[in-house]
Symmetry: C2
Subunit: 436 residues, 2 copies
């Protein structure tokens, strides 16, 4: 396929994606397929000779779509949101077209520099302390990682290197292995300091943890993967108070800030903590600018060597929504979660299991875990909406997460009526069985 055909097929694909997202509410949110469904539908091996675009294209609806869980359906309330927006899709097309691999400044200066500046923009939007920003000559700065797991791993490895060096400088007789065997990482069962845990969106008390970490020379990493996007709204920024004690901070615009996966934003106060741990300088990656101090080589900030031009997505989304547009998106989701919360509270068969702070409602039928498992099963088997559960202490709890960019009040009402009806049906049978 050459450029001329790409012009035609690309436009068909744009329409296909627009159709898909415009009419996603008409698709069943969770697929009917059973494990192993796909293999029998396609050949055992790649074709020897080229197939046409038409052949591939028609297989999208035939083979792929029957097995897709529609994350952007307004009936999808599972996990946490996966961000998506048209500006981000456009930026990703450009990113693919440019197709540079930005492991060093020289490998594509725009790729590196836009990322640094976009992370400053984003840091300012959530009012991060200035130490985390790169500016023209800051010691800190931001980087786009693939996921919060990678940001946590990077922090852990950087903290390890930093601590080993500090201990060795105090006690030069110790080997790296001596120190390594005695290092301790403190974590709760959600790991590191977390703002907005996955099960119930709870918040660690940074103002208590932070001073202890600072006093004891412990690297503090804060993971706000989901919740972080909300801090662009001044009324939620207080949840981030205490970040000033942290060494590194991370949240995922690819969850809730309309930037498609992957875009996990991470900041550090001292960029030398990362580059000190990961620096890699073979000759073929050196360039004459690298000693200038103005230059960032992001390969020293991450596990992979290669990296895509992901800051384009941030640039397009921040500009085409504006801060206000993104705040509206966050506030709408939080309004909808409170709407759902109120519906639950009006039904005395149900209880709310955790404070509703952002876009997640944890709820359950008053009663046994078995009863609630049965309710979730009937919800997910009906496939009108999709939810996942969590454990809160000993309790089996249903999570209702506001996810889709297109979700509206009517979808919330529909979901609640549906859940309520299934609960009524279930309780009827359940009581009968219970009485037998």
């Amino acid at each position: 396929m050459e450029a001329a055909e790409f012009r035609k097929r690309g436009k068909e694909m744009v329409d296909y994606v627009a159709d898909y997202l415009e009419q996603i509410d008409k698709r069943q949110v969770f697929p009917d397929v059973e494990p192993g469904y796909l293999r029998p539908l396609i050949p055992d091996c790649a074709p020897q000779d080229p197939e046409s675009f038409e052949d591939v294209f028609k297989d999208i609806e035939k083979i792929i779509m029957p097995g897709v869980t529609h994350w952007h359906s307004p009936y999808f309330f599972a996990y946490f949101p996966a961000a998506s927006s048209f500006p981000a899709l456009l930026a990703d097309m450009l990113c693919g077209g440019i197709g540079c691999v930005g492991f060093s400044w020289a490998a594509s200066p725009a790729c590196t520099e836009l990322e640094t500046v976009m992370l400053d923009w984003l840091g300012k939007m959530i009012n991060l302390p200035g130490e985390f920003l790169a500016g023209k000559d800051g010691q800190g700065g931001g980087v786009i990682q693939g996921s919060a797991s990678e940001a946590t791993l990077i922090s852990l490895l950087a903290a390890r290197t930093k601590t080993i060096r500090r201990v060795q400088s105090e006690k030069p007789e110790l080997t790296e292995a001596d120190v390594m065997g005695r290092l301790v990482a403190y974590a709760s069962d959600q790991f590191c300091a977390t703002l907005g845990t996955t099960p119930c969106c709870s918040f660690d008390k940074l103002l208590e943890l932070g001073p202890v970490c600072n006093k004891e020379n412990i690297w503090m990493h804060i993971d706000a993967a989901y919740a972080g996007s909300a801090f662009i709204c001044p009324e939620f920024r207080h949840l981030l108070n205490g970040v000033e004690f942290a060494d590194s901070f991370n949240f995922n615009p690819h969850k809730w800030l309309l930037v498609n996966f992957d875009c996990s934003a991470m900041w550090v106060k001292k960029r030398s903590d990362l580059t000190g741990a990961f620096k890699l300088e073979p000759l073929y990656l050196q360039h004459h600018h690298q000693e200038s101090g103005l230059v960032t080589d992001y390969r020293h900030w991450q596990i992979p060597l290669g990296r895509r031009f992901r800051s384009l997505k941030l640039w397009f989304v921040l500009r085409m929504y504006g801060v206000r547009g993104l705040q509206e998106h966050i506030r709408k989701h939080i309004r909808l979660s409170h709407q759902f919360e109120h519906l639950v509270l009006q039904d005395e068969r149900f209880e709310i299991c955790a404070e509703v702070v952002l876009g997640l409602v944890c709820f359950r039928l008053k009663g046994s875990n078995e009863l609630n498992k049965a309710l979730l099963k009937s919800i997910n088997e009906a496939k009108k909406i999709h939810l996942v559960p969590c454990h809160l202490r000993e309790k089996f709890v249903l999570r209702f997460a506001i996810c889709s960019r297109a979700v509206e009040s009517t979808h919330i009402k529909f979901a609640w009526q549906h859940i309520s009806q299934l609960a009524t049906d279930l309780l009827k049978t359940w009581e009968q069985n219970h009485h037998q």
Copy 2:
């Protein structure tokens, strides 16, 4: 921006990308900008109110393009190729549109199942031993990682867990820390067993390393990041002989198989070695199929939790090129590297520094490292073509890598004439300086 505007803007972006790639040879391959060029060109912070697509779009040429290193230019001969093709771009648009996060089978069955089958297709194309394939009930299988670094890290962590468990089962009195402190990872200065090293594309002798690893119960990981794509051609498959001794194997279709970054293909003989090391099962990620054995949850195979629908790129590319089309691409690049090699060999001022096996030619002026540094400097300052150097033992060497999908014999001839002329100019000055 809603779907209607996306239809319009998406099509404009398709044309922009097509224009860019069609006319990329008219752009200077390496940019003129100095470090810090971008920050003064854009505002200090994100706009409060939305900007129009037109405003953002016109900034692409104004702000981004002046700082782009054009990896797909036929005058780009640096690093290794970054794969790109129109079918892959189309697939990435679909991937973005679907926007699912495939951390478990249930999170989007198609995303998981297509990946497993595509890695089987790809494994068969390079004639991997059957143990590495998933098939319907194999113990092995493939996964798409983001980069070869991640594949190596995953292998290392899986090997560590496996070895600790083995040692502990033999000596239950040892703690994990006792064992950990005594583990050894063997590597050359290119790390792990490598097929096609970055400096000069050399090959480790798997048939010597493999039996030793197997006998001593050492996990053997093979990294063929660049070279792996060539193994789809039967005449190069012998370079992979010995893979049968390995526990894990990895190569990057995003380097040389026309699949845009990121798509690093990794296979293991025993999937339980990975899932044993990384398994993560909070309730909100469990689904009722997971115990069935037919089901893969790829989050247990990687560092990140989330993952994009990257197998679509493989599916589109393998089908729209066919095996023959991809073989032609590989063979063309190797033909062009030999063309360049012959041009170098005809000029007695130059020498070839490593056997040209695939698409990389390592060469230098006979003479000092300083002379060759000066030659590279004059090449890269002229910005007609772009190269990077490497060290081979004590020598400073120039790497000429065939990179672009669009590179042709005429570009090779041009590059050589240009290098040859710059060498003539340089030698003239050099000798004058030398005689003074």
